[in-house]
C-alpha cells in the first residue's frame, strides 16, 4: 500500500513514529501523525498547517496537551521494559548489544504501534486520494484523512488551534 505514498508522505510517517519515541510514547496516535505532517515542511500539509499558525512546535504543544488530557503520558514506553524485567530480560543490555552490532538507534523498544484510529486515518488518506482521482498519496491526502473522522483527535486538535477543517480541505 505504501508504495503509492510520496516521499514527503513517507517522511511524515517516519517522523510521526520518531515524535512518539521522543515523547516516550508506546503508540502512534492521530496526534503523532499530525505532528509528522507539521514537521514535514516541504509537504503541502505542512505548509497549510504552518499557514494557519500550526508550526511543528505549536502542534507538539497542542498534541502533548491533548494526549495528557486523554490520560496518555510519557511513562507508557517504560511499561513493556518493566514487564520484561520481571522475567529477567534486561532491555538496556539487549539495546547495548544491538547498538554494537547494527549501529545506534536501530533497535527500538518498545517500537510504537499504530492505534486503530491512526490506522483508519491512513486508510482514509488513501481513499481521499482515490476520490480525487490521484494515483499517489501525498501529505495533503493524509491531512484530509486525519480530518475525515468526526470527534477524532485530528479534527479536535485542529479546532483547538482555531483552524477550520473545511478551510484545510479547501
Amino acid at each position: 500500500m505504501f508504495d503509492i505514498f510520496t516521499d514527503a508522505a513517507k517522511r511524515a510517517l517516519v517522523l510521526a513514529q520518531d515524535e512518539a519515541i521522543m515523547l516516550g510514547h508506546d503508540f502512534v496516535a492521530a496526534e503523532h501523525l499530525l505532528l509528522g505532517l507539521a514537521g514535514t515542511d516541504d509537504g503541502l500539509a505542512g505548509q497549510v498547517l504552518a499557514g494557519q499558525g500550526m508550526t511543528a512546535e505549536e502542534t507538539r504543544r497542542l498534541a502533548v496537551g491533548q494526549l495528557t488530557a486523554d490520560g496518555l503520558t510519557a511513562a507508557s514506553a517504560a511499561e513493556p521494559v518493566a514487564a520484561l524485567a520481571t522475567i529477567g530480560i534486561d532491555v538496556d543490555d539487549v539495546r547495548r548489544r544491538a547498538d554494537e552490532s547494527f549501529g545506534r538507534g536501530k533497535f527500538v523498544f518498545p517500537r510504537p504501534a499504530y492505534v486503530s484510529e491512526a490506522k483508519r486515518a491512513i486508510e482514509r488518506s488513501v481513499g481521499e486520494a482515490q476520490a480525487l482521482g490521484h494515483d499517489y498519496v501525498g501529505t495533503e491526502h493524509m491531512l484530509l484523512g486525519l480530518l475525515g473522522a468526526d470527534d477524532a483527535p485530528g479534527p479536535r486538535l485542529v479546532s483547538a488551534a482555531g483552524l477550520d477543517p473545511a478551510e484545510c480541505a479547501g
Partner: protein, 80 residues
C-alpha cells in the same frame, strides 16, 4: 541487590502466580521478538539474502516473511 537478580530469584519471577504480571511479560516478549526479527531481517536483506533464504532460516513460509517485511522496507525506500 546482586542476590535479587540471581537465577533463583528469576525462576521465582518467571513463575509469578499473578496472571497480570505473567501476561504482561508475554506481550512485551512478543514485541521484543518482533523488534529482533525486524533488525535481523533488515540486516540479512542489506547483506543480499533472498526472501527465501530468510524464510528458511526463520522456519516460516516465504510468503509470510515477505508480507511482514517487504512492504515496510519499501515504505522506507530500502527495497525496490
Amino acid at each position: 541487590m546482586a542476590a535479587d537478580n540471581g537465577p533463583a530469584a528469576l525462576v521465582g519471577q518467571v513463575t509469578d502466580k499473578d496472571p497480570a504480571v505473567g501476561l504482561r511479560a508475554v506481550v512485551a516478549l512478543r514485541r521484543l521478538l518482533d523488534e529482533l526479527e525486524r533488525l535481523h531481517v533488515d540486516s540479512a536483506r542489506d547483506q543480499g539474502w533472498s526472501w527465501q533464504g530468510i524464510a528458511d532460516a526463520l522456519q516460516v513460509s516465504r510468503q509470510s516473511v515477505h508480507e511482514k517485511h517487504a512492504t515496510r522496507r519499501k515504505a522506507q525506500g530500502r527495497e525496490d
